[in-house]
């Protein structure tokens, strides 16, 4: 349980967040400059001017009413910023050890090195490893403090899609194996959907929406809250072992059995994650016949939203909520309304593997 009631005066507006979060994975969404990073810094104790109350898993970190204000070093809040911020004068191993407390349980270091697969990097300098590796090391370092709460500030934003594919499974693994609650700031709705059960949407310092991630994303789709946001479909599921010589593979996500490109089998930890861009999904009223695309799903339209850059549909098909983007002309021709049954057609190669 994370209970926040904080205020902080920022140059353009007042950050004012009063909310209770269940404490699993929480996505913090919102446009640039909405106060997302300031909120994380307030929780971490890095904003001396913040006011209010922060309680994490029963521990009062800050409470103006009773005069409690723990310094950052006493809060045990793990923080992973966008640019990792590894200490450049220390090896990767020393960076991770930096977070170990004197009373840390033995074996923690080895466990983190194993979960995040950084053993080959231990002796290297942070300058000599890739962006995705740096993020993994920063994550290990934050986890070494055995934090009450992890704050992840767009840890994937600085990475390209291929690198993201290398870090996302580790985040999922950390979430599932270590059960540390976290706040995850992101611009990417797809990432939020796959990693967090709960989401809150910030705009100009205030929470404008909060609830289950899927519901917040559905309400956000097409809403012009964030020009930089990407509404990819991100699907987490299990990949069937590839049959020899096949160029496609079968991927189970939600209730769907999808045909995706076969990728070289590698030791991918945990679940497999694929994305599909909203533009890559075809919509038809009748089942498409004799088409080359491998995936045809029947679903129901949940919402339709018009924006200057197209019409956004949320379609529930085979246990998955899909985001689909159509041109205005296409939407007019199809005359789609909420509740209508539609067919979605997706090429196998429209699926890109993230993890």
């Amino acid at each position: 349980m994370i209970s926040l009631d904080v205020a902080l005066t920022l140059p353009r507006f007042e950050l004012r967040v009063e909310t209770d979060l269940a404490g699993g994975g929480v996505a913090v969404l919102g446009p640039s400059g909405a106060g997302k990073t300031s909120l994380l810094e307030t929780i971490a104790g890095l904003r001396p001017r913040a006011r209010g109350r922060v309680v994490v898993e029963g521990a009062v970190l800050m409470d103006d009413a009773s005069g409690v204000r723990l310094p950052p070093e006493a809060r045990r809040i793990g923080y992973v910023p966008q640019d990792a911020l590894l200490f450049p004068h220390q090896s990767v191993g020393d960076n991770v050890r930096f977070g170990l407390r004197s009373g840390a349980r033995s074996g923690l270091f080895d466990e983190l090195v194993e979960i995040l697969e950084i053993a080959p990097l231990i002796r290297r300098s942070p300058a000599a490893i890739s962006g995705g590796e740096r993020q993994r090391v920063a994550l290990a370092r934050a986890l070494a403090t055995e934090p009450r709460l992890l704050l992840l500030d767009e840890p994937l934003a600085a990475l390209d899609v291929e690198l993201k594919g290398r870090i996302l499974p580790y985040l999922l693994r950390v979430r599932d194996a270590l059960r540390v609650p976290f706040l995850y700031v992101t611009h990417n709705a797809g990432e939020a959907a796959v990693i967090a059960e709960e989401a809150l949407l910030l705009r100009e310092g205030s929470v404008v929406r909060q609830g289950p991630t899927e519901a917040v994303l559905a309400a956000m789709t097409g809403e012009h809250v964030d020009p930089a946001a990407r509404y990819e479909n991100v699907l987490a599921g299990a990949l069937e072992p590839r049959a020899a010589g096949m160029e496609t593979a079968t991927f189970h996500a939600g209730g769907a059995r999808l045909i995706v490109p076969a990728t070289p089998t590698e030791a991918a930890p945990g679940r497999t994650v694929f994305t599909v861009a909203p533009e890559e999904i075809l919509v038809s009223e009748r089942p498409p016949e004799r088409v080359s695309a491998r995936n045809r799903l029947f679903g129901r339209v949940m919402s339709v939203r018009e924006t200057p850059d197209g019409t956004w549909l949320r379609v529930h098909a085979e246990g998955i909520a899909w985001t689909v983007r159509l041109t205005h002309a296409a939407e007019e021709e199809l005359a789609i309304a909420p509740g209508a049954g539609v067919w979605l057609t997706i090429k196998a190669h429209a699926f890109h593997r993230l993890a």
Binding site: I77, R141, A142
Partner: protein, 225 residues
């Protein structure tokens, strides 16, 4: 090279080294405060600390002399404590320290300013107190700049003349450093003897500045500028 020359060299190196060691903790502390302090008075403090850079050394020497003479503000206290400072080797150390202090502070300040403050915040979230973050992050990241500043301060101390001659005089074997001896020997027409000392100062200065330069260059390469 005579025994006299070597005696002068030894005295010079000793007082310059002592002065440098003396100002090191204060210089690092002032550099850190100037780099981090965002409140009022920052420019004023910086200006005051840099004054010895722009004032004629003799002016600084005269101010020190006024402060340290028997009925001066500091001299009064020293006398009560039974300490004789003026015209002693200790006065040379003091003059050198005052004149080279701004060099150290400027280098230390720049070195600390190059340390990303977010790294210090990060160290705090990882359990470091402010003092530990300074020791484990700021100092190791800034040490090259601090060392360069220390070497430059040392070089400045080696050549100190104006302030020294006013507070310590020019007493052979006691307060006469290389710079003072060169002046004196030239003054009495011993140009060749003065020249031998010049060669010594060139060698000393060369080593110190060369070390400073190579340190700064390596630092620049490391941070990619």
């Amino acid at each position: 090279m005579t025994a006299d020359d070597l005696g002068i060299l030894w005295l010079t190196v000793r007082v310059a080294a002592l002065a440098t060691v003396l100002i090191l903790p204060f210089g690092v502390a002032c550099g850190w405060l100037l780099a981090r302090w965002r409140g009022p008075g920052r420019t004023l403090a910086e200006t005051v600390m840099s004054l010895p850079l722009v004032l004629p050394p003799t002016a600084v020497g005269l101010l020190l002399l006024q402060a340290l003479r028997r009925n001066g503000p500091a001299g009064h206290l020293l006398e009560r404590a039974g300490i004789e400072l003026l015209f002693t080797p200790a006065a040379v150390v003091l003059a050198c320290a005052v004149m080279s202090f701004p060099f150290l502070v400027r280098f230390a300040r720049t070195a600390f300013e190059e340390v990303d403050p977010r790294l210090l915040s990060m160290a705090r979230t990882l359990g470091s107190t402010p003092a530990a973050a300074f020791r484990r992050i700021a100092l190791p990241l800034a040490w090259r700049g601090i060392l360069a500043g220390t070497l430059l301060a040392f070089s400045r101390a080696l050549g100190e003349f104006g302030a020294t001659i006013l507070v310590a005089g020019n007493i052979p074997g006691r307060t006469q450093t290389l710079a003072l001896a060169i002046f004196q020997r030239t003054h009495i027409g011993q140009d060749a003897a003065a020249m031998r000392l010049v060669v010594l100062t060139v060698a000393l200065g060369f080593v110190a500045v060369f070390a400073t330069e190579s340190l700064t260059r390596r630092r620049a390469r490391r941070i990619g500028v």
